[in-house]
């Protein structure tokens, strides 16, 4: 094959890092889908806005961590409000309408970002610079930090869902919305909060991705598309599956970009999706096909 080992190594680590960021985005998306059957076309735009809010906050305060928190909280709030206003009336209607409504929102958010932040990309300064020795190569610390942070946030989400009263409420609502209401769980609030959590996670991804790839108005569609693929391959509504699928797909793309250009490497993910849809439509990482 003739591809040097160090390149394969770098791509493996890159794939893992990108995979964790994508996993963070996709977890929010699959959480939202699982609980309210909404395919959030605007999810990528939430990532993008998170990146911009983060960039602006970073410029104002000089602290990456404050930027991360501010972006996550701001978008969480926006997300919850969006759900409560636009998506609540659509509950129970044809799933087509939520796809369309969120598509409309994505257009508005995309152009709003263009309006507020202009057409040029923003770059975020990474909080830790410097590189370390990965075998005989130099690898940036920040990339590892990104993966660790993303994993930490997803881990926190998992713990939150598994233990504690609100986690039970969210899981009960996901499984049987009607019965959850009959038990007195305030489902409308739960739905808005979950959408907010998903949005906050997306925003965090945007900020984490900032130092790696910059923030542009058009990055939203790319993230949305990839997140959709991850969620379908991982099994819709399946949190663990999404994480595995995100890493899997990112690794495949990373390796593919050794052979073709990065713009073309994305086809690898597309092909995986098509194959999965042909042979295991319910998801690659779902235990048994239903």
């Amino acid at each position: 094959m003739g591809i040097p080992f160090d390149q394969i190594l770098i791509q493996t680590v890159n794939g893992l890092v990108n995979g964790m960021i994508l996993a963070l985005v996709a977890s929010g998306l699959t959480l939202i889908f699982g609980i309210m059957d909404v395919v959030n076309f605007a999810h990528g735009e939430l990532v993008m806005l998170g990146g911009f809010v983060g960039a602006t906050t970073l410029a104002m305060t000089g602290s990456f961590w404050i930027a991360l928190a501010a972006a996550a909280l701001t978008l969480a709030l926006i997300g919850a409000v969006l759900q409560a206003t636009v998506l609540r009336p659509l509950l129970g209607r044809d799933p087509l309408t939520t796809i369309l409504a969120t598509f409309g929102i994505s257009l508005v958010l995309q152009k709003y970002a263009l309006w507020q932040w202009g057409p040029s990309a923003r770059k975020l300064q990474e909080p830790i610079t410097g590189q370390f020795d990965l075998f005989y190569l130099e690898y940036p610390w920040y990339r590892v930090l990104t993966a660790v942070l993303a994993a930490a946030i997803i881990g926190a989400l998992y713990l939150f869902l598994r233990f504690g009263k609100y986690g039970i409420w969210i899981r009960a609502t996901t499984q049987d919305r009607v019965m959850a209401q009959a038990m007195g769980i305030p489902v409308p609030v739960v739905l808005a909060v979950v959408f907010g959590i998903g949005a906050g996670m997306a925003a965090a991804s945007g900020v984490l991705f900032g130092p790696l790839g910059g923030v542009t108005q058009t990055m939203g569609s790319d993230f949305t598309l990839r997140a959709f693929i991850v969620v379908v391959v991982g099994g819709m509504g399946n949190l663990g599956g999404s994480i595995l699928a995100a890493i899997f797909l990112s690794l495949i793309e990373a390796y593919a970009s050794l052979v073709v250009s990065p713009a073309q490497a994305v086809i690898a993910s597309f092909v995986v999706l098509i194959l999965v849809q042909l042979f295991r439509p319910t998801g690659l990482f779902v235990p048994t096909p239903k």
């Binding site: 009263k165 039970i168 899981r171 009960a172 499984q175 009607v178 019965m179 209401q181 009959a182």
Partner: protein, 235 residues
């Protein structure tokens, strides 16, 4: 305490309830009999706010609750045990119970008390408390569904066909539980196809046909004269 008056309910275009009127007084066990499809479940769902009535009134302790947001009746003291149980399959037994326990204004001590009480009546739930709800047998799931409702400390429980598909041993357990609840002063609106159980447990019985209440009598009277039952239920 609970009063329905001339309630009409639609599912889409289907007119299911054609003017149902019934009432339940505090602490009473009231039976609701009728063949499949006459609207018994729909009546319960209308009370719970899961479907909105197009006409008529549903009053609980004097308040109009028709069309209330579906998560409110539980807070008012109305608990619902649907047919097919609908326990949260992926939640553990304990987590299922917690959906009813975790309410505002309930102290930790009280929560432990309620749990202990329910474990006493349903020892099998204590055994299986960490198991996922979906792994329980049909009868155990029914126990869990009722126990979960009890966690709400309700004033009235709406029971929809609790003995459906259960073995006789389980049916006796259900009968026991109904007695226990009655002794504690919890009112019960019992929808059933099991006539003997209903006649034995209930004080009064309504009989429905085609979306309306056709007959209403004390259980004793119906026990003595089963002709009416045969007429409406063809049993």
């Amino acid at each position: 305490m609970l009063a329905l008056e001339n309630v009409h309910t639609y599912y889409g275009k289907s007119h299911i309830l054609h003017g149902v009127s019934l009432e339940v007084n505090p602490g009473e066990v009231v039976g609701l009999l009728g063949r499949n499809g006459v609207g018994k479940s729909t009546t319960l769902k209308t009370i719970m706010g899961l479907v909105r009535p197009s006409d008529g009134s549903v009053r609980f302790e004097g308040r109009d609750i028709a069309g209330m947001a579906p998560h409110r009746p539980a807070h008012l003291g109305i608990a619902y045990v649907p047919e097919d149980r609908r326990i949260f399959r992926l939640l553990s037994v304990l987590e299922n119970l917690r959906t009813g326990l975790d309410r505002p204004g309930v102290s930790e001590a009280r929560k432990d008390e309620l749990l202990e009480k329910v474990y006493k009546h349903f020892p099998v739930l204590r055994e299986r408390r960490s198991q996922a709800g979906g792994t329980l047998s049909g009868g155990e799931q029914q126990m869990l569904a009722i126990a979960r409702a009890m966690m709400l400390e309700p004033r009235i429980i709406l029971l929809d066909e609790p003995t459906e598909g259960l073995m006789p041993r389980m049916v006796s357990q259900i009968r026991e539980i109904i007695h226990v609840l009655h002794r504690e002063g919890v009112a019960i609106l019992l929808v059933e196809q099991n006539v003997p159980l209903t006649l034995e447990a209930a004080g009064r019985v309504y009989i429905m046909e085609k979306g309306v209440v056709r007959h209403h009598a004390p259980a004793g009277e119906l026990r003595a004269n089963q002709a009416v039952i045969h007429q409406y239920l063809g049993v």
